[in-house]
């Protein structure tokens, strides 16, 4: 019996108005794998990621997490749309890191990390605080626990955001261009944290423009253009011997 993929995207399509952003996108990610999604701006990479955790509702197709359709429940033969609390429970399994961090500006760094475990999982503040300190240590920011986000650099904020997501102990981490809003000298720290995560066996989907990172860390690279998956495969093949002309021309521009 073949293993069930942790994440399956099946024929997902999405349009904003008359603009078709995603067309029949399908892909599988198995537990422990890192999938990097590359492609030019406007190719639908971010929308794909947002369809995975249903921040955007796909027009067609389904996303499955651990074999269960995201946003729906089986009842007999029918698929019933989830209530917002059922969807929230499913989203807890998927962490997400945004391009612009979106830390809660009114909470200290430590409270940003404990917020989910305390409010959503009902963990007591003390235990949550201890776990948060472990995570902050892991991302190298234990000394900033009492600071407010606005006093942190972009790279530090992004690492806090990663810690905040990890605090929910997700099965899957989604990264939406996590280093695109950072000054070049701060990119490295964030990528190092992500490398560590991958090494620890976290399943990750990373939308990125960091080709070196994709080449080193990814198990699978997907090249998207015009809302379609143009090419997918192991990084050696996509970067080393791309089959499609569009992939080749994109890579020649960014490498």
């Amino acid at each position: 019996m073949p293993e069930i993929p942790l994440l399956r995207v099946e024929n997902v399509g999405k349009a904003f108005g008359r603009h078709q952003v995603l067309r029949e996108v399908s892909l599988d990610v198995h537990a422990g794998q890192v999938l990097c999604v590359i492609g030019p701006s406007g190719s639908g990479k971010s929308t794909l990621l947002r369809c995975v955790n249903r921040l955007e509702v796909p027009d067609s197709g389904y996303v499955y997490l651990e074999g269960q359709p995201v946003g729906f429940r089986w009842k007999g033969d029918g698929l019933h749309e989830m209530t917002s609390s059922q969807l929230a429970a499913q989203r807890r399994r998927m962490g997400m890191v945004f391009q612009n961090f979106h830390l809660f500006p009114h909470r200290r760094v430590i409270d940003n990390v404990t917020e989910g475990p305390v409010v959503v999982n009902g963990l007591d503040r003390r235990t949550a605080g201890e776990q948060a300190m472990e995570l902050l240590t892991k991302v190298g920011l234990a000394d900033k626990a009492g600071a407010f986000p606005e006093s942190l650099s972009g790279g530090q904020q992004q690492r806090v955001a990663i810690a905040r997501s990890l605090a929910m102990r997700p099965a899957l981490m989604l990264f939406d261009e996590p280093t695109s809003a950072l000054d070049p000298e701060l990119v490295g720290d964030v990528l190092d944290v992500m490398r560590d995560l991958a090494r620890d066996g976290m399943t990750m989907v990373v939308v990125t423009h960091e080709m070196a990172f994709a080449r080193d860390v990814a198990d699978q690279v997907v090249f998207m253009d015009g809302g379609r998956v143009v090419e997918a495969g192991p990084p050696e093949r996509v970067f080393g011997a791309p089959e499609h002309e569009r992939t080749r021309s994109f890579l020649s521009r960014v490498l």
């Binding site: 929230a88 009114h106 909470r107 200290r108």
Partner: protein
């Protein structure tokens, strides 16, 4: 050629350039500041003379009644009215603002209608209307709609002049607060909601833990303004014979005919309260800035435990 003389030297020798170094400087004079200031000082002096020398002011009477028991009782009533109306108004305002931003068109319309009505009807008209509610609905009943009654009260015992006043003030405030809070909610970036959703919060948790705390911070200054207006709007309740600050003063001068001194007593207290509220508002705003600035500079959790943290559970 180029190092023989800098451009400045060259032209100075040529006679066209005059160096400003070492010259006497004359600051700009402002004769109109002095003229305007003199006029103002004169006006202030005239006003002060009126306050001090006009016999009808009767400062001795003012002093006598400033801490009168009736006046102080009225002061407490005024404060009670202000706080209650404000708290109720804000609570309703939050609900109305959330309804106004709801995806459900029925919620949106009801909220719009409420705002339209309670912003349109003057609070004074409302108060009189609520006070006379008994003539419209003599008995208030609690029960199953269109079904049996479980409990009932005589309207006149439920709606006293005090509660009529609270209703009029709070409902008007709710409409204004709703608009402010809506603007505050809309000023919170969409990314905040998304970040909270992906942590697994429910819609309600997102609102309560992430959006509202930030929205309310944004609206602290206008709410402070509203609180100060509310303090003064409470004087309207004197028409319902609710013994607030103004009505207490009126009751006293209707007995002793010392109208101006007693109005001065009320004026002084209103000014004192307004000043206190203004200072409190500034403190709240300053503290919100300070907590963050201090934490930002230190970046150290241990030293900051004792600082107040807003929005904490």
């Amino acid at each position: 050629m180029t190092n023989a003389g800098s451009p400045a030297q060259g032209t100075a020798h040529g006679g066209g350039f005059r160096s400003a170094g070492g010259a006497r400087r004359v600051p700009l004079r402002h004769p109109w500041w002095w003229a305007g200031g003199a006029v103002l000082v004169l006006l202030i002096a005239l006003f002060a003379r009126l306050l001090v020398t006009n016999e009808n002011m009767r400062w001795s009477v003012v002093l006598e009644y400033l801490f009168d028991r009736e006046i102080l009782g009225g002061l407490v009533t005024t404060l009670e009215l202000t706080v209650l109306a404000m708290v109720l108004g804000l609570a309703l305002g939050v609900v109305l603002a959330v309804m106004r931003l709801s995806a459900n068109p029925l919620f949106r319309s009801v909220s719009w209608l409420w705002l339209w009505f309670f912003r349109g009807v003057p609070p004074l008209v409302q108060m009189v209307f609520w006070f006379n509610l008994a003539t419209l609905i003599p008995v208030i009943e609690l029960g199953v709609p269109f079904g049996p009654t479980l409990a009932s009260w005589d309207t006149n015992t439920v709606v006293s002049s005090f509660s009529a006043a609270i209703l009029g003030l709070a409902l008007t405030e709710s409409a204004y607060a709703a608009e402010m809070i809506r603007a505050g909610i809309q000023a919170v970036p969409k990314g905040q909601t998304e970040a909270a959703l992906v942590v697994g919060m429910s819609r309600f948790q997102v609102l309560r833990r992430v959006v509202l705390p930030q929205a309310l911070r944004i609206v602290v200054p206008p709410i402070g303004n509203d609180l100060i207006s509310m303090l003064k709007f409470t004087s309207l309740v004197s028409v319902l014979a609710t013994p607030d600050l103004l009505y207490s003063a009126q009751m006293i001068y209707s007995r002793n005919y010392r109208t101006i001194p007693l109005l001065l007593v009320a004026t002084i207290w209103y000014l004192v309260l307004t000043t206190l509220l203004t200072v409190a508002q500034q403190q709240v705003e300053r503290r919100m800035k300070l907590t963050r600035a201090a934490a930002g500079a230190a970046g150290d959790g241990r030293r900051l435990r004792f600082l107040p943290s807003f929005g904490k559970a």
